[in-house]
Symmetry: C2
Subunit: 265 residues, 2 copies
Amino acid sequence: MKTLHIIKIGGNVIDNSENLYHFLKDFTALQGYKILVHGGGKVATQLSETLGIETKLVDGRRITDIETLRVVTMVYGGLINKNIVAQLQRFGTNAIGLTGADGNFIRTKKRPVKTIDYGFVGDIDQKSVDSTGIAKLMDAGFTPVFSALTHDGDGQMLNTNADTIASALAVALSAKFETTLIYCFEKKGVLMDINDDDSIIRDIDPVRYEELKKQQIIHSGMLPKLDNAFTAIACGVKAVVIGHSADLGELKNSKPFGTRLSKTT
Amino acid sequence: MKTLHIIKIGGNVIDNSENLYHFLKDFTALQGYKILVHGGGKVATQLSETLGIETKLVDGRRITDIETLRVVTMVYGGLINKNIVAQLQRFGTNAIGLTGADGNFIRTKKRPVKTIDYGFVGDIDQKSVDSTGIAKLMDAGFTPVFSALTHDGDGQMLNTNADTIASALAVALSAKFETTLIYCFEKKGVLMDINDDDSIIRDIDPVRYEELKKQQIIHSGMLPKLDNAFTAIACGVKAVVIGHSADLGELKNSKPFGTRLSKTT
């Protein structure tokens, strides 16, 4: 089975041009099939402010009204995506920038209005990702770069969480590739001691995960991230790695990088 | 040889949601390989105004400073491109939205500064278009939708005229496809009488073109458009058609549409 790396980057890479430069260079050096997924960083919030569009958050989640959708379609799908693609081309990665609308690759359903109306937000389900189409694009020699946007198949763009997109892509493509999902975040990995950046736990399997939770070494903020990771692994993803983008270069030297979650260590 | 239609739309289609809807439906009904190229319309100018970015024109040409480049990358590459793609998907066209950076398909050179600094504008030359890569994407089952943006291969996005992109694509792809280039504009075609919308001249070859110029039937504004069209034909494009987007549906009924320019009528 061919190997595939799916790497998700967020604000701490996108908003820092030096981090982004080094990350894209390291991404280019990675062998085999690969997909990049990026979120939005601060730019969308800044543009909204300049345009006088109020950013509404409910429980930390952004409400995407029609004006906000316009902003994120411009910023995620245009500005950030195309600048990443242009830089990847400079390094020699034959990138194609995408939303879920392109190639009909990720089709979602607008989140139903219950107590809260999240607006133009798309929820991914098991049938959302067209893994055959994406594989076809990669087999034609292109490296997909997904922004955090999808569509409903009926002409409507939708805002969709980049972590969720990365995870859904990994699960769907696991049927065709030996898939590793990598989340770049602000720490070097899951830490034994939150105050010691070098206390990285290198490997976690489900048994060790239960132990770490009992010992309260894994703190509450990390729990949803790790729960989702183990769900992806249960659905066929070979491993989920959580680490800092600056260390990605270690991967090509087969050195340990971040924290690796998998079925068995 | 397989047939290919390359269709360019501008403001009068993009800025009018009803025109756009019908055009995209008719575009979907077209058989064979096809590529859509779109400009920017009024949205970029409006956004620039809202953001307090001055639109500078020299001889009708927009100066693209770094702020304006950000705006057009957002509007052309994000907002307009992705909304067109999402609507095409609704109608069943498997579109992928692109800039020249994506797939490294159109690589240009930043216009040299002489008396005027046009800023981040890319000039196309004969080597700019990677026809092999674009053909590969189409053979994989995707319909390219190009916005009016290219890159320099060194990480820099550049603003590039949509008419020129359409023409360069047509010339480059003529080696592989029997290519017809269609420009949608505000008239039904080249008119014998500017005041009579039904006085469409159906066919023009180089001999007839010279006659029409001598008789001063073709007015000055049309000359550069038609000169460029005949240059494209001399470089291998089978025909260039100029007409109104609303009449595109006639093509699939093999009825006459607009004015057809070709080597021989």
